[in-house]
Symmetry: C2
Subunit: 301 residues, 2 copies
């Protein structure tokens, strides 16, 4: 029995491509591949998408709504940024050039902030998804990931935001720095994480001096790898919370992202007296693409 | 005319091997190769050294004095750490196992600190070299590099020290993070460096939020690569200075390292009202190996 979507939702990041065959807000089927933006030339996007859609019956014509790095300068077509304050899908869609006459590909705009300079691409769709379920939300969204975003939202608009490279720095330190010797292995240490968050928040200026201590404690005191890794994570997340204090202090906070990661942020925020609610990043992306599709239909009418 | 050293000085780091043919304190010849510790199995050290010494006439027997990662756990032979407070060559030499009867290889000890846990291996030799010229020094040595050391020295002893991974993190961010797009290229911007140091020192807790701004300013405002790179360096060195404030504040400071790097640290410290004197790292290593050789002869008598 063939899948006959009425439109296609696509989440196209740096290292992944995910597509959903949709009928209105209903998911009929899904597919994914490793053909992320970073792996493709400009001419490679359409074939990569067609490969993924091949099992589905798209009829004579179908709308594709795509978010993420597919809209970056190195992506399929550069989508503009809406400038804050703005609604998360505020800048209109960008049409990607296609050869196959059955396809219309609409890329979701990013969001930018002039001062301090900042950009997002992909998270705006998760924010739109969240707001489609919580129109009245007035508070802060934290979207942890490679580049964690802290986003002040009010009256259905993004007011301001701030990016921390915490995830990328954690990855570089654990995979490629001298600390890789100290943090290799499985397991986790909740208490070490919590202590490191507190420690880092109370003296964030000492971070530069604390990281190498993980290596030294490994050499001198056989510090367990799971403790070292949890402490490294806590030091970095603590430093991020210190930098983001104006965002979360005294505000309602919701977390959007991968469950393992939002759990860490919730624990760290909880120690600061902030009760953050967690939302799955994948679900918010799909909800945001559904909101984007609804907006596309509105615009077309 | 053949080179006939009376002893051999060796600086053997993670990625390099340098040897000097010595007569007392006089350098007769030098040689170097890429056979760093990281490139060698335990059995590979002696052949790598013999290759380098081949052009020299070492006679029936020669003492080799070596410092650096050659004494690490993954090195030729693990040399112990002296615990602070101690003189920089305080733990005695470790003999490396050799097959060639002409060689006696003496590895310089490292230095450790229990609380906060910290270690050094290689820098103790530079400190010994510095102290051989400045016995009366009472102040702080800063040795910038992959892992920068801040060292409190008094009465010819290392009192305490602190390591910052600034150089390694700068390298990872410029070569492997998303910032690589923003900092690629030649050139430098002194004013951007100075501003970033000041900025980072005055609000070190904001570091996590500032790094991604370099990327965003590149995308939105075409920030020049030389400005972005200088600003990145300034943000990290500023954060390090904030963490090392108890070391440099109100103390005499001397810098030991590569000239381009000590120049940056001198500029950053100068903006804090600290006039630091610079010393070449290579010269201090040789002076330290000469001091170590003198100590070896003393011990042997």
């Amino acid at each position: 029995m063939s899948v006959r979507p009425t439109w296609i939702a696509v989440d196209w990041g740096t290292t992944h491509l995910r597509a959903w065959a949709m009928d209105g807000a209903k998911v009929l089927a899904k597919a994914s591949s490793e053909s992320g933006m970073a792996a493709l030339d400009r001419d490679g996007f359409e074939p990569a998408l067609l490969d993924l859609l091949a099992p589905w019956d798209v009829g004579d014509h179908i709308n594709v709504v795509a978010c993420g790095m597919v809209g970056a300068r190195q992506g399929w077509a550069e989508a503009p940024y809406a400038a804050v304050p703005c609604t998360p899908l505020g800048a209109g869609f960008t049409q990607a050039p296609v050869r196959d006459p059955r396809l219309s590909v609409h890329i979701v705009p990013g969001v930018k902030q002039d001062r301090p300079a900042d950009v997002m691409r992909g998270e705006e769709t998760q924010i739109a998804g969240f707001l489609s379920q919580r129109k009245d939300f007035d508070g802060v969204l934290c979207l942890p990931g490679t580049h964690t975003k802290w986003v002040h939202v009010s009256a259905e608009e993004i007011v301001s935001f701030q990016t921390a490279m915490t995830g990328e720095i954690f990855g570089l330190l654990t995979d490629r720095s001298v600390l890789r010797h100290s943090v290799a292995g499985e397991g986790w240490d909740d208490a070490a994480f919590a202590d490191a968050v507190t420690d880092s928040m109370s003296r964030p200026e000492a971070l530069a001096a604390r990281l190498f201590g993980l290596r030294a404690e490994g050499l001198l005191n056989d510090l367990a790898a799971q403790t070292a890794r949890a402490r490294l994570s806590g030091l970095l997340i603590g430093a991020e919370l210190a930098a983001a204090r104006p965002y979360w202090l005294g505000r309602e906070v919701a977390l959007i992202g991968a469950p393992a990661l939002t759990a860490l942020y919730r624990a760290a925020l909880s120690a600061q007296g902030v009760a953050a609610v967690r939302h799955d990043g994948g679900e918010m992306t799909r909800a945001g693409l559904i909101a984007a599709h609804a907006k596309l239909k509105e615009t077309a009418q």
